[in-house]
Symmetry: C2
Subunit: 186 residues, 2 copies
Amino acid sequence: MANRIITDEAFLITALDLFRTYGFEGVSLKQLADATGLEKASLYYRYPGGKDEIVLAVATAVSQWLETNIAAPLAGPGTPRKRVACVVERLRELYCGGTKSCVIDVLSIPGGSPELKTGLKAAMQSWLNAYVEIAKECGLTPVQARHRAEEAMVRFEGSLVLARVLGDTSAFDRTLKLLPDLLTVA
Amino acid sequence: MANRIITDEAFLITALDLFRTYGFEGVSLKQLADATGLEKASLYYRYPGGKDEIVLAVATAVSQWLETNIAAPLAGPGTPRKRVACVVERLRELYCGGTKSCVIDVLSIPGGSPELKTGLKAAMQSWLNAYVEIAKECGLTPVQARHRAEEAMVRFEGSLVLARVLGDTSAFDRTLKLLPDLLTVA
DNA sequence: GTCTATATTAAGATAGAC
DNA sequence: GTCTATCTTAATATAGAC
């Protein structure tokens, strides 16, 4: 712990930013080393499995973030509409107003370990389930709630793709504005 | 032309399939050579600019495909609804029922030349404009038509992301089913 | 626990034979 | 126009000093 010049948490935040931007194949250990101020050999000390293990740690951290900032608030106190509004603002922040890509999307392009693929799928399913639960709470049938949840996710991911391709976040802004009605109005 | 063992068109189709699956950084010249039956040196003879030039040729071919199979049918004869239905079936085919990613999406992750980025953006804008025109033809205001077009694109790209992450094309199927109403009903 | 140095492999790219 | 052979660079990964 003595000579550590970057915490594990800060390391993972920096790594997340690289992976969501350039994808698994687009990020090298040298980039990770330069961006975090560590040498490549130090990365192997922390993550003996190399890039596969680092990206898996990033995916795990993202899953935890989603649990804390999406699933928990959606299941917590307050009116359903206010809970969704709160989640929308956290999403706006994490995705920097639509200027940053979704790491689940970008890392789902083949390249990492099978564990990564499984972890990303589980993260999105848990995110979707949180949407389903609040929609059911608002009076929608299980099937309707599932469709609304998937529509919310589809629109969110799709608007991030448009923002990346077109360099225009207006569709992302409209999507976020729509989410409360989509998930809470029966 | 004598010893050519794969046509330019077949070469680009094979290259497209690799790039849409693995992304720019995820495809090597060796993969391209193996998949097309040519040696790396032959790829450089056809495309002296290397991978950058190959992926740009792929993007150009995709732009032409979109012009022929999306823009032209949408502006052609028949009722607006039938024209959209026709386009939907071509999209279903090109994207293999949702099991293949969108090359514009996947290649928009940083990695290629600035020309690639510009070409992808132009391709999506032209696709969007074709949607806008048919929506206006059906009585929507320019602003409404623009929003419907963007919603159609957002849902299309988003449902492909979900299909890739979750391995489930049901959201993609629902999106295609929705497109005629979305683009033609005022 | 991080560093410098290096081994190993694979990538992009070119020269020259056929 | 494609091939084999090779060059150069950069990637992953490890050994051992501090």
